[in-house]
Amino acid sequence: MPLSPGRNKSQQTSALEWVAAGTGVFFLVGLLSVIGAEALASGPHEPPAISINVGKMTQAGDTYVAAFEAVNTSGGTAAALQVEGKLVDGDVDVETSLATIDYVSAHGTAEGGFIFSKDPTGLKIVARPLGYQTP
């Protein structure tokens, strides 16, 4: 008995094939919608907006390390970001540390640390981004 083309096809296309294809559609649509939204927002042309949050201070060998987090709140990515951390005693700068971050993605965060030789106990740390490269 000859099979109809439709019946023949449903035999060849396994359920797993539909599952795999469905997963593909789901992921593709997900990726395209995120990237598409970015395209419409024309994010990459925005300058990055970076704030530096200084976190915990730990003693590491002869040095003192202040961990920091660079938070980018804009749609533009900063590459080769230079960050400066100053140890301040009232109005007097005690010590300055520089750090370079490979990149902070749009709406992303990156972590690093300032290394000081003087004990920062009782002193204030003032941190700010210095400059970046457009990726």
Binding site: Q11, G24, F27, L28, L31, G43, G75, S105, H107, T109
Partner: protein
């Protein structure tokens, strides 16, 4: 019901092979630093265009012999989605294991990084059956026949050129080599590309084996495959440079020298496409 279980199992084998192919073709780029950055810096519209173009290429590749035998175009579309699923999962998992992606990763960074990597991995997933070839069904012969025509051959050249060019284009070295070479070097590289392309086309035997006098055959191969092949390689190189934003603001000479540099791997890719696909 029994036959359905068998096709499920056959498809599961196909999927497993697809993961293997995705890893083999994807690893060099998954472990390339410039590719991680590219996900952030690439123009989103150009990336979207590339994702869609890659999908069309996957459908045609499936037509010519994808990771499981197909008979209708509808099945090829399903397989292209399946290959993308494998490609995206492979890319995301590998990058996560490398510690490059995590739950803290920004959404756009995640999407960009995975989407860029999913292009070579999905390509590898689609070509998996050829790499881990096993069965020889009549469907496979049918698929081979589909690609035997002239336009099919040219498409395979395009796919091969795109793939190899994509593999080297993200690195800084392409630009650096372009700076290092003078006009004579560039002319020599063009000649070398043509020579390699022609030699491989000749050796691999892209055409249907027609009986013709040797000289005639060489000339025909050169005009019919080597010249269009090199044009395809150059166009693929330009397209990939444009997608990666390497053309913007660059002077014409710099773009051309980058195209010549990238044209060399693209030519090799175009020539050996028949072996891989």
């Amino acid at each position: 019901m029994k036959s359905l279980a068998i096709t499920d199992r056959a498809y599961a084998y196909g999927l497993a092979r697809a993961f293997g192919g995705a890893i083999i073709f994807g690893l060099p780029l998954l472990m390339t630093m410039e590719m991680w950055m590219l996900g952030l810096s690439i123009h989103p519209l150009r990336l979207t265009l590339f994702i869609l173009l890659n999908f069309v290429m996957l459908v045609i590749l499936s037509r010519f012999g994808g990771f499981e035998p197909t008979s209708t175009v509808g099945e090829d579309v399903l397989d292209a989605f399946g290959a993308y699923a494998v490609g995206i999962v492979t890319a995301a998992l590998t990058l996560a294991v490398f510690g490059l992606l995590g739950f803290h990763t920004a959404r756009s960074e995640f999407a960009g990084m995975v989407a860029v990597q999913a292009i070579p991995t999905s390509f590898g997933a689609m070509l998996a059956r050829k790499q881990f070839a096993d069965g020889e069904s009549e469907k496979e012969d049918e698929q081979m026949e589909r690609s035997a025509g002239y336009s099919g051959q040219l498409f395979l050249m395009l796919a091969g050129a795109m793939f190899l060019a994509f593999n080297v284009a993200p690195t800084e070295e392409i630009i650096l080599i372009g700076f290092k070479m003078n006009a004579w070097h560039e002319l020599a590289l063009i000649a070398a590309s043509l020579l390699v392309l022609h030699a491989l086309v000749y050796a691999v035997g892209l055409t249907g084996q027609e009986v013709a006098p040797e000289g005639h055959r060489t000339a025909r191969l050169f005009l019919g495959f080597t010249c269009p092949g090199y044009t395809i390689a150059m166009l693929a190189s330009f397209y990939i440079l444009w997608t990666f934003g390497r053309v913007d603001g660059a002077p014409l000479e710099a773009v051309l020298s980058n195209m010549v540099v990238l044209g060399f791997p693209a030519s090799v890719g175009a020539a050996i496409a028949r072996l891989v696909v």
